[in-house]
Symmetry: C3
Subunit: 133 residues, 3 copies
């Protein structure tokens, strides 16, 4: 198993960052050409998802939709005021797993991998692990 | 690792298709009796989930609930008009992983595996990978 | 592969139960010090998620937010009246996967693993599988 911890810097409160190339680089560095790569976000107000990375309006609309789905509610008690971001993190999820074949990610034509910031801007981490087999 | 790409045809705009048997067939074909099977949807307006496959009203209600959760918003900009479907895809997620023991899927009594179409009808693909160990 | 089935008892209709220690115990019992652990919930109105386990208001707010996101809708037809719970199960997801390094879970500082009950109280099961590599 090859494990790489990558620093990710976000610049907005809510942001979708295309990290597909970071994952491709880690897979190349691992030397593993057949297996799987897991992306893990070790944070509770961030996430990782796979979605279209062609039209920049897609990530923009996803963030807008998530604000509609998980708004700030007056009944929340958590003192940091970011319960809506914790909920987005659990809705989207903190990990993804993609197949590796012939050294390449087995993604669909329109799929890219996105780091999801819901309580930024911040310095974040991403754990990329590549497994043979 | 055994990898099989399966064609899935959907017939409605929103649809939950029970694909449990397709996964069972692929596991049998793989010859792997102990390990794990991953389901991966290489699309950005579809998904895969595990939920009840006894009462047909459950998938019907899930689709209805998701329309309530991620409706079409007038503020969306993505030109294809399917941003609400992209959001459903990220909420439900494009992969699932199930244990294989003694050649069988280790699912709960009421669990089935569902291909989720959110922007159909279309010809879709499902990638099934079975890993030993 | 080491597989352990754990009984989980919930005490409320909606509840987030911190199961991080159960996962740590299973990893120790497996004797596997490097690899991955998968948590799988074999139910259709429950789930598993990773989120903050420091402030008890976070799980309380997550449950409140999920009730807002997936309320009981009058249009639901499923006779058991728990379609909103089935939807929460698919939104959060029935599995999580965490890396194991030097015998420890590779979680972030604030991350814990939560069993999510959306239709309790009930006797539930959790399947913990640990894989080397």
């Amino acid at each position: 198993m090859f494990v790489k911890k990558v620093d990710v810097t976000t610049h907005h409160h809510d942001e979708l960052l295309d990290i597909t190339h970071l994952v491709q680089i880690a897979v190349a560095e691992s030397g593993i050409t057949s297996g799987r790569v897991q992306l893990f976000v070790p944070h509770t107000t961030a996430a990782v998802t796979i979605n279209e990375n062609a039209d920049p309006d897609v990530p923009r609309d996803i963030l807008l939709g998530l604000q509609h789905i998980s708004p700030v509610l007056s009944q929340y008690r958590h003192g940091e005021g970011n319960s809506h971001a914790h909920i987005k993190s659990s809705l989207i999820g903190c990990s993804e797993e993609v197949l590796v074949q012939d050294g390449a990610l087995l993604l669909g034509t329109w799929q890219g991998i996105w780091f999801c910031e819901f309580d930024g801007p911040r310095s974040r981490r991403l754990i990329i692990s590549v497994m043979q087999g």
